[in-house]
Subunit: 527 residues, 2 copies
Amino acid sequence: MVDQIHIYYEVTCARGSHIEQISHAIALEQTVEVPDDCIHSDFVREHIVGQVLEISPLEKKDNTYLVVIGYAPDITAYQIPQFLNLFFGNISLKNYIRIVNVTLPECFLEQFSGPNYGISGIRKILGVYDRPLAATALKPMGSTPETLANMAEAFALGGGDIIKDDHGLTDHSFCPFEKRVRLCQEAIQRVNLKTGRQTLYFPNVLGSAEQLGKQVEFAVKQGVRGVLISPFLVGPDILRHLSAQHKILFMAHPAFTGTHFHDPQHGIIPAVLLGTLFRLLGADISVYPNSGGRFGFSVDECLGISEALQKPLGKMKPAFPGPAGGMQLNSIEIMAKQYGVEAIYIIGGALLQHSRDLQQSTRIFMQKIRSLFKERLTTPVYEMISAGDWGGGSAGQDRRSHLAWQSDFTWTGRAAEAYKAESGLAFAKIRRQELIGKHGEKTGFDLRYFQIEPQGFSSLEKHRHEHVIIAVRGQGVLQLGKRQILLKPHDIAYVEPDLVHQIRNESAEPFGFFCIVDHERDKPIAP
Amino acid sequence: MVDQIHIYYEVTCARGSHIEQISHAIALEQTVEVPDDCIHSDFVREHIVGQVLEISPLEKKDNTYLVVIGYAPDITAYQIPQFLNLFFGNISLKNYIRIVNVTLPECFLEQFSGPNYGISGIRKILGVYDRPLAATALKPMGSTPETLANMAEAFALGGGDIIKDDHGLTDHSFCPFEKRVRLCQEAIQRVNLKTGRQTLYFPNVLGSAEQLGKQVEFAVKQGVRGVLISPFLVGPDILRHLSAQHKILFMAHPAFTGTHFHDPQHGIIPAVLLGTLFRLLGADISVYPNSGGRFGFSVDECLGISEALQKPLGKMKPAFPGPAGGMQLNSIEIMAKQYGVEAIYIIGGALLQHSRDLQQSTRIFMQKIRSLFKERLTTPVYEMISAGDWGGGSAGQDRRSHLAWQSDFTWTGRAAEAYKAESGLAFAKIRRQELIGKHGEKTGFDLRYFQIEPQGFSSLEKHRHEHVIIAVRGQGVLQLGKRQILLKPHDIAYVEPDLVHQIRNESAEPFGFFCIVDHERDKPIAP
């Protein structure tokens, strides 16, 4: 029966009760919810009811046993809600049962994609290796979007890697989601363009069921590459769903999970819940309250989470541990000893407390890390990937073959992003959408849609590779050497190799166009 | 500050710690997540940080205090995820904090609709008064849809009120959701038509984030009038969302909530979580493990839930307590003493265990209830109401004025249901959708869409009121007295008073037509 799901429970027996009976009662409770004598079908008895595989007394705890129960994976219907139900649905309402481990068979794991990028993907996006990453949080709640954007800018200028919203920032009247996300993302993009490094901003998505998907879409359109989400506040399967739809980074927050952890005799241990389960749901980063902070996790619990996030789990990528919750600048050495390189050190309030100059505090944060680790830097690489190439489900496959035009001139299944010149060339008011070529297609070309707002322009540049432009909406001016061409919808333009060129919008309406280029191509340079 | 949210905590102090400090730390943790010295804005200090309003020692528990903290309601953004976060997000990760009560101001409550029907609405649908309702569960998992449908039929024939799926039944390969729902709903409808009474079937909706909405839609199209849902497995706000979209009954199940309850010093007490919170989310019925069963709730905890479900809460309807979890036939007297009339007694496994003849067991169940209460019966009334008249949000209002045609010949904002003859007349293969007249409109007429599949027919009947028929798709035969009229799209037919008539589909394609009738009208009778 290697294909079963094995759940490992620590069960504490009340005096006079029998561990065999309790174990079998768990196997019934989590499946059929009837006594044995109500089961009249062999299939139910043999396939549905959990099988108690092992009962062994624990040395260190009196009247406590390790119980292993095997379950047929199809009981879960290969879906998160029923998996959670099998895991700890009804027995959460009992006492003295703690889940301490789980092993999941391949047939189950292959139904889930896990982290979109994981540790190696995040490092590639940042171009940062051989040292832990440095993160902070935008707070306090009640600050204006402008204040938070200034903080984001200061943190990016100070050289930090990741800045997230505090997990309580939502769509408040005093700090609306869209304004906050736009200003903070613009702030870090401004700095990134200047420094050539990458700081990532993770806005918090915590809206109603109606809003959540729209919030992520909005963030992606602003060029955001990751979001913060609290699976237990919005529903665990929502993380999996959003992660399958949007191939961005997901940082999971443990809010509202804590009742599982405070009693050593009941619940699901942190390693399983915040480690294995959150990774299964698609967390690239799992934030948790580190030992020594203002919450109560032990060192072993924290290391357990870190291990569960990184150990083999089907084909899923390892995810980053994100120790947080009251970390100080002088916690860095301790965290370095605990976690080594593969962690994101999150210091929030203490960074603000250190000085009102966040840029300066961040510099100290980074210096402390660099004093302990010798970092290696490469060019940040972010391959824009979105739902279109996400082969996880049939919806994904539909999106792959059909990119539906939408009235705001975006196409379904592809994320729009802010335009980013690759070599620091000046540009303004452009967004782009990678349509074909970056999403697993085998084409020798890339098809992109660009849109330039009034007074916007692309960089004045040249390169070996050619451009083919098809105007779609509005009108724009193509500068080709000394020539100027006015492009209107359905016009086609060709830019020959090494010809200096620029596209400007001198009209009052957006100018949108397709641009087709070779998939393999050289970088643009200044004239 | 009467407009604040007041949360009541029981806080246990470790020796040497100060309750004032702990209380203020809670007020910071749940809002700004920074120390006081990081707050530089008056707005944040005065409006965002929680205000400790009361600290009083508890007589019965050493080192334990009742702490009341007031929060500005706009911190919640008037949405469930951030409300849960304010409630118990980060402090769930602390220890020795238990939420024992909450008061919510009008400005918060009026953002939520609560139960669609509540106790009085359910009684009206069933036509049953002055006695508790009797419910059971379809189980065990692993049974075929046919077996479960037979159980549903037996329970309905035995005179039971409500039959729900076991909460672990989902879209299993061995018992697919759609087949189960269709067969079980057909089974109870068959019985209801025969008896003139109502038994309601609540299928369990426990799919992935992609599936949940579709599962509810499918169930509604089958004529289902309520569903079972586990808010903590699918996400609490999903219940609120579905309840706003579908004006059917929602029965909430406590799976995966239990870690809040097992420790008397930490978590959210059952009355607040399974009572107030679930009612706020839209539960018409809250199922919970009753004292004396196979779970550990005390009598007081159970009565607390029952009270919270029924006490004044803004304009929200009182909801039914659903004590369950190991109730026996001989628990009925005890439940009667505990809860009196306003409860749904749920007996699952014990009913199956009593006898393999579920119809007979159900009769005994009903006799026991009737021996303790003198029931009063009226004609069951179910006013088909769906999203269209649900004025809770702008989406609802759009749907009210615009019913969009969909390619499967349904209209948005209205639930399709199986056709039900009102007086036992024979019919076959018809579905209908109430479009105008039953959704809060003031029209003197009702507009309905009917669709008859090949070989299907409406009942041969007559009545005082007239019919106007407009053919929409396919073709059908209208029998008018001895005449037969072939109806094709755009044809209009008029059926005069007292004329015996029937509509048949003798073609190979579906026949669809609008039917317009007076809003106030007499019942059809046999020729």
